[in-house]
């Protein structure tokens, strides 16, 4: 259900890059977009952290330890 709201603000963004800064509201609009972008960067950072945590949690030695057996090689 999520992830489908309307997304169309990209081209205004491109337009804003060339728009005069004297147009009222443009600095505020740009600030909103920057806030969204910074938030997304933070989201990506946390996502990468979670994926790294998953790799660490599911590494063979951790899984073997969870199952209560030695990590291979020996009997």
């Amino acid at each position: 259900m999520y992830g489908r709201p309307a997304l169309g603000t990209m081209l205004p963004l491109a337009g804003m890059a060339t728009a005069s800064r004297t147009v009222p509201g443009i600095p505020f609009a740009r600030g909103l977009q920057i806030a969204a972008g910074m938030g997304f960067l933070l989201y990506c950072l946390i996502a990468f952290g979670l994926i790294a945590a998953r790799l660490w949690l599911r590494r063979p030695s951790a899984r073997a330890a969870a199952a209560g057996r030695p990590t291979g090689g020996g009997s």
């Binding site: 259900m1 999520y2 992830g3 489908r4 709201p5 309307a6 997304l7 169309g8 603000t9 990209m10 081209l11 205004p12 963004l13 491109a14 337009g15 804003m16 890059a17 728009a19 005069s20 004297t22 147009v23 009222p24 509201g25 443009i26 505020f28 609009a29 740009r30 909103l32 977009q33 920057i34 806030a35 969204a36 972008g37 910074m38 938030g39 997304f40 960067l41 989201y43 990506c44 996502a47 979670l50 945590a53 998953r54 949690l57 599911r58």
Partner: protein
């Protein structure tokens, strides 16, 4: 420089959502061929957690008791209603409808607690007899839920696979003809089911939806705790994820649906969605479980799904930015006496926002053939704007969470 980088990140946010939606649409077009295996007869128990549902319960029970199947009952869990809910249940076919009344102060602790009490009652009262838990299927139906007559026949083959823990069926709005808002909610559930849930069958991450949700009792038994359902505001989402983490397979049945009542008032709709959003935020506590227990492909999809409230809140800043920029430019155009708004400012957002309307219109027209493709695509344009409701609901839900409000904002019936 940092600002420019952040602007590109905002663009990446949109690209990510677009790519995800497109990928799931393409996946959803694949078909699953299911071969029926001879199996044991299963016993179906429909659970209806009811708090003041006298207006809608009789019709739902009439639908259930007339299902063309032999082995099923409905258990009405009256959660200390003030109205005639218990009376309505007693008036139904007593061979098919059982009533379990909860009393205060134990009652009215949320839908999850009521459902847990219902399952405990089934066992404590010996209502399941000597049936094996793997042959008992518990189905959660909302009090206003109207099941398709062939629902049991459609769902039953999914349970032939012993690894199937739960099956979700489609959800429709039976009052979808009563105006645009009801129609848009119907489209929302059709698109969610026929695109996102259908695609998740191939990712192993099908979610449960609270209405029309079938679960094998032996799968529920593996969840432990005080009962299968948590006290989350979205206990259905929570349960679906925990089943996957326990190694069960969740399936989505495309050939049957339960119809429920659409909300006909925008304010009540936003309130309902704010509750869902808040529940979705609470489900963040499932992340460690997913990281530890779930296979990579479903884990990635579940993490994206669980984190989507964050993306919605971030995305909500972008249309606001667009409106501010357009308003400012129109104002400047008047001041300077010449148009400063390029047609591209309108064409670009249209293409980016409304291309999806053609896809969703196509998907909806296949379900709602009487509407036709052209009208369906037109309704889908309104549907794109309807998606903005999530922005309001999202910030409201976040506010409620931040201020510690966790009450059950039950959506009233009409």
């Amino acid at each position: 420089m940092t600002g420019q980088f952040a602007l590109w990140a905002a663009t990446a946010l949109i690209v990510l959502a677009g790519t995800y939606n497109t990928t799931l649409f393409l996946l959803s077009r694949r078909h699953i061929r299911r071969v029926r295996r001879p199996g044991r007869q299963r016993f179906y128990v429909f659970l209806l957690a009811c708090l003041n549902e006298e207006k809608v319960l009789a019709e739902s029970l009439a639908r259930i008791t007339s299902l063309p199947a032999d082995s099923f009952v409905a258990l009405v869990i009256d959660d200390a209603s003030d109205d005639r809910t218990a009376e309505v249940a007693r008036a139904a076919d007593s061979s098919r409808v059982w009533l379990y009344q909860r009393r205060l102060p134990d009652a009215r602790r949320g839908k999850g607690a009521a459902l847990n009490a219902g399952v405990r009652h089934l066992r404590a009262a010996g209502l399941l007899g000597h049936r094996a838990p793997e042959d008992v299927v518990i189905c959660v139906v909302d009090a206003d839920g109207r099941l398709d007559p062939h629902t049991i026949q459609a769902v039953d083959p999914c349970f032939d696979d012993p690894s199937t823990g739960a099956v979700q069926i489609g959800v429709r709005m039976y009052n979808r003809h009563l105006g645009l808002l009801a129609r848009l909610q119907d489209m929302e559930f059709v698109v969610y089911g026929d695109v996102f849930q259908s695609a998740r069958r191939f990712l192993g991450s099908v979610g449960m939806g609270g209405n029309g949700q079938f679960m094998r009792l032996s799968a529920l038994d593996t969840l432990g705790g005080d009962g299968p359902w948590s006290d989350s505001l979205t206990e259905d989402l929570d349960l679906g994820v925990r089943l996957i983490a326990r190694g069960w397979r969740n399936q989505y049945c495309t050939t049957a649906a339960v119809s429920q009542q659409a909300v006909l008032d925008v304010r009540r709709l936003v309130r309902q969605r704010s509750r869902w959003f808040q529940g979705h935020l609470q489900s963040a506590n499932l992340v460690p479980l997913i990281l530890r227990e779930v296979a990579t492909r479903p884990a990635l999809d579940l993490l994206y799904h669980l984190s989507s409230p964050v993306l919605i809140l971030l995305t909500s800043l972008l249309p606001l930015s667009f409106l501010v920029a357009v308003a400012g430019t129109v104002l400047a155009s008047f001041q300077q006496g010449r148009p400063l708004v390029s047609p591209m400012w309108l064409l670009g957002p249209y293409l980016l926002s409304f291309t999806a309307a053609y896809v969703y219109g196509f998907v909806y027209a296949k379900r709602e053939r009487t509407l036709g493709l052209v009208r369906s695509v037109l309704v889908a344009h309104a549907f794109i704007l309807y998606g903005y409701i999530w922005f309001a609901a999202g910030w409201w839900g976040l506010w409620r969470m931040a201020t510690g409000k966790r009450t059950w904002l039950k959506t009233g019936r009409t």
